[in-house]
Symmetry: C2
């Protein structure tokens, strides 16, 4: 059987505005909410939120290691959850901020390096209230799945769940077209906190028969 342990772990959440929780008046976002839940189950989480608004995967590639390694020294139980890619799909001045080919190379580089240092999880880029951009995000979310499979990094395609969510999409539309508010983030939190790869971080196989 498995038993819940009470772990002291330090988790860095790395990504863009959706990781930051932009739009959530409760200042928790989905990342804060899943850590609160883990604490309620008896764990002791140090919660480092490293979401930065507007950041692309190219920018994140150049930033994450310095900020994460500063917060997760070797002597502690440190872990990393990534969620990024939406800003790559934005068109500015008539062209994509980051091409799909480059996005895929970025995620491969980031996860290849990260998994050698820490336990790593990856959540897909998330939907907006914009059908055209959502098509590009959906394509990227599928490509990221292949990279994660190849690298053996657990991957949650939250895009394909949330694109059908009235809560997430309606809140985003009523807010700024991109970011939900408390209910949307709470919905995503429920999805992530029931993901087996996340739950596995807090379970150990006991010695009971």
């Amino acid at each position: 059987m498995t038993e819940k342990s009470e772990l002291q772990i330090r988790i860095c959440f790395v990504g863009e505005s959706f990781v930051n929780g932009t739009g959530d008046p409760e200042c928790l976002g989905w990342a804060g909410r899943i850590c609160v839940s883990a604490n309620q189950k008896g764990n002791d989480i140090t919660y480092y939120n490293l979401g930065v608004r507007r950041e692309t995967s190219t920018e994140l590639k150049n930033r994450w290691l310095q900020e994460v390694s500063y917060r997760l020294p070797k002597e502690y139980d440190g872990r990393v959850v990534f969620c990024f890619g939406v800003n790559d799909t934005t068109i500015e001045n008539g062209k994509l901020r980051v091409t799909p080919t480059q996005s895929i190379e970025n995620v491969r580089n980031i996860l290849s390096d990260a998994k050698q240092l820490y336990p790593v999880l990856m959540v897909s880029p998330l939907p907006l209230a914009d059908d055209g951009q959502n098509q590009r995000i959906a394509d990227l979310a599928k490509q990221f799945a292949l990279v994660c499979h190849e690298l053996n990094v657990p991957y949650l395609n939250a895009f394909s769940i949330l694109e059908k969510s009235n809560i997430w999409i309606d809140e985003a539309r009523a807010n700024d077209g991109a970011h939900p508010r408390a209910a949307g983030y709470a919905e995503l939190a429920r999805i992530v906190e029931n993901w087996d790869a996340w739950l596995n971080w807090f379970e150990e196989t006991g010695n009971c028969p």
Copy 2:
């Protein structure tokens, strides 16, 4: 008369574990709580928590500008709240991690640079459940007041309020000797959110007679 405006502002909170909210099962700490309150008053806060456990003022001096400027580009209304110094007063291997003279030089350097770039507030280092170290923190909190006065940076000596607080000290003692839990952080949040320098960030002088 003054009127409350509804501001879109981005705030970086920079410091050590007390800024991170370490020990708070609700994952908000005092920084998250005061942003939630500001949102409840109709503001739209982007909340960047840059607290890092164990960090001294010397380490912070070398880190803050890169992380803050990355999150607060010039085109947005960005602000910075600092709170640090406790870890300087820890004795390791028979000596202080940072001497008071160096701590004071650090805070002067950090705030001198920061105030040229952003509106800045400073909260004093905070008490632990350790009388000996608290004496050193109290001395530092007074020295930091002089530096902030000299630089015209608003300063809140939260140490002198919290050292008399049963909530803060008792929670810290019952927890790990250093960090309170939800009630302690909520108490500090109430102190900061009623500080006139914080309130002034959200008020504008109207044109009414």
